[in-house]
Symmetry: C2
Subunit: 337 residues, 2 copies
């Protein structure tokens, strides 16, 4: 009994997911339908005849699709689509960080009420299994802080300012020319991209609802070569740091920010290069645990998406074989009272 | 409906687990019975009256225990105990690396047949959630290699030889005086401890059965201060490295070893200090993912054990809810998978 996958969004990550599903190594997953953008890309020639092509999202909410994978990004129409998919009883896998940061708790609620699943490990840190690491692997601890390097574009630009003493504007232009920064780079530079990921990490680590608007952001655009001299003099460098920590004594209050900040030269944060992401989690009992890996790129994110699909397939198999349950991966984060 | 926990083994990790369970934050888990060694430690004064004390393992295989936690270590009698517990339908959580390396697949088989669960995330790298990271988070990838620093004792001794130019025997004596090495340090120095962990990682990463005896080990006892000079001249240092990788083209063949080896000074392996463990996983699609954290110590390992218990509790709740699928989850942020 394979899980029948309907995919919406056929950009870099979507195509990587399709290729991973079609290479046949994973028999528990079967790509049955792809929904492309109306007026957008044509059906890819390498898709086999067994995969249907559509440009209407509603064509995925049908009997022969078990799980919808959303890789379009942005709040609309993704929010309406996924709400509808979950309401209709489909499980959903998404890598849409904005959507999960803004509406994750509501969507999880719909999923729980309908007995379906919502997973989004690809929304944070690409292929690095940090959501699972926190929600499952560190479930037994009380987590105190989460700190990360979550945006590869900022990482690249800051590294170039540091190494080549480029003014910010030149480093940005270079990043754009190389495709590392978008034509409108505001979401990366101003910290909005990293903030969405931090919000998702907060909900995983602390079990509390955080709104993106509650997290203070400061742009890296004011960082100049001379700032690195001052940083180096203190044994540090400058990175865009995303950080959240429990405020002393309060189980319900955290302090969170995304901003350019000093990090010690010998810390894992200073060593993150290019699209590498780093997430450091401190727990009362487990001490510091650090996850490092490819935080962007179609293939790395596709691994997170396919891993989520396998978790859905496992849960479904288990449900089908209620007499013989086997290991389950996800546990809710412990509440501190 | 809380999960009733019976604990055998009341050393450092066992006591940490008991304290975590008794602090009351996690209502889904309830410590009901502890089995100490006959003639060993007395019942701890801080155990509340609600926790029964026994010195007979069979007292844990009773109706009012749902899951057995084994923290005794060693092959016997743990193997017989856990086999019996699983056969009787109890779920089992263990941090016993030797047992899981030698008999994990058979025990998993018994668990699957009996519809119970066997989890052992604490057996490798203490509190670092690397088994989950590999088995769940990177499930969608084809993994190519696993390389780790898995033994804190060797790490400490090699670091002291490097920094203080101590002869090996002096560094070992120092480690023993500080309690970082055991009176009989052979299992650590010769690589048998790291080998058991590597075998468990291999089974997680490659899905193939590996016998500990198939992995070549070389002791660190021959490493001398002069070896570090030669290593430094090449931009490297020396660490006890545990490594396994797929042999070209074969899905069923791996090359694996545990031995003192050169590692680049700027690699995460060189930076591991004290009881820090580092595991680097390379995947065909996800690239390199690195997990770093506390690889030893009662509290860190206890976090892995309690996280495993929560996974068992979640699976059990889900099973109980299958008759009423709409009620799978009551709280909004709970993940259902």
């Amino acid at each position: 009994m394979s899980l029948r996958v309907g995919l919406v969004g056929f950009g870099t990550v979507g195509q990587s997911v399709a290729r991973l599903l079609l290479d046949g190594a994973e028999r528990r997953l079967r790509l049955v339908k792809v929904c492309g953008r109306p007026g957008g890309r044509e059906r890819a020639a390498w898709l086999p005849p067994s995969v249907a092509w559509t440009t209407r999202f509603d064509d995925l909410i049908v009997r022969d699709v078990d799980v919808v994978v959303e890789l379009v990004g942005g709040l609309q129409p993704a929010w309406q689509w996924l709400h509808k998919a979950l309401l209709s009883g489909k499980s959903v896998v998404t890598a849409n960080k904005q959507l999960v940061a803004e509406h994750g708790p509501e969507l999880l609620d719909v999923a729980a009420r309908r007995g379906s699943l919502l997973r989004y490990d690809g929304a944070v840190a690409g292929g690095v299994p940090v959501i699972r690491g926190i929600e499952d692997g560190l479930a037994g601890d009380r987590l105190l802080s989460v700190t990360g390097i979550l945006n590869g574009t900022c990482n690249y630009i800051l590294t170039r300012i540091e190494q080549q003493r480029l003014p910010f504007a030149d480093a940005l232009r270079e990043a754009q020319a190389l495709g590392y920064a978008e034509a409108d780079p505001a979401a990366d530079l101003d910290g909005l991209d990293a903030r969405a990921k931090l919000v998702i990490l907060c909900q995983a680590a602390f079990g509390i609802r955080v709104r993106p608007s509650q997290v203070a952001c400061e742009s890296i655009a004011s960082v100049a070569p001379a700032d690195f001299d001052a940083a180096h003099a203190r044994g540090c460098t400058i990175r865009q740091v995303s950080s959240a920590e429990r405020v002393d004594g309060s189980p319900h209050e955290i302090a969170a920010f995304v901003r350019p900040a000093l990090v010690p030269l010998d810390s894992p944060f200073a060593r993150a290069s290019g699209c590498q992401n780093v997430v450091s989690v401190r727990g009362e009992f487990s001490g510091e645990t650090v996850f490092t890996g490819q935080g962007a790129g179609g293939n790395a994110t596709a691994v997170a998406v396919v891993s989520d699909l396998l978790a859905v397939a496992t849960a479904r198999q288990r449900l089908a074989a209620t007499a013989r349950p086997i290991a389950v991966s996800a546990t809710p984060r412990k509440r501190v009272s």
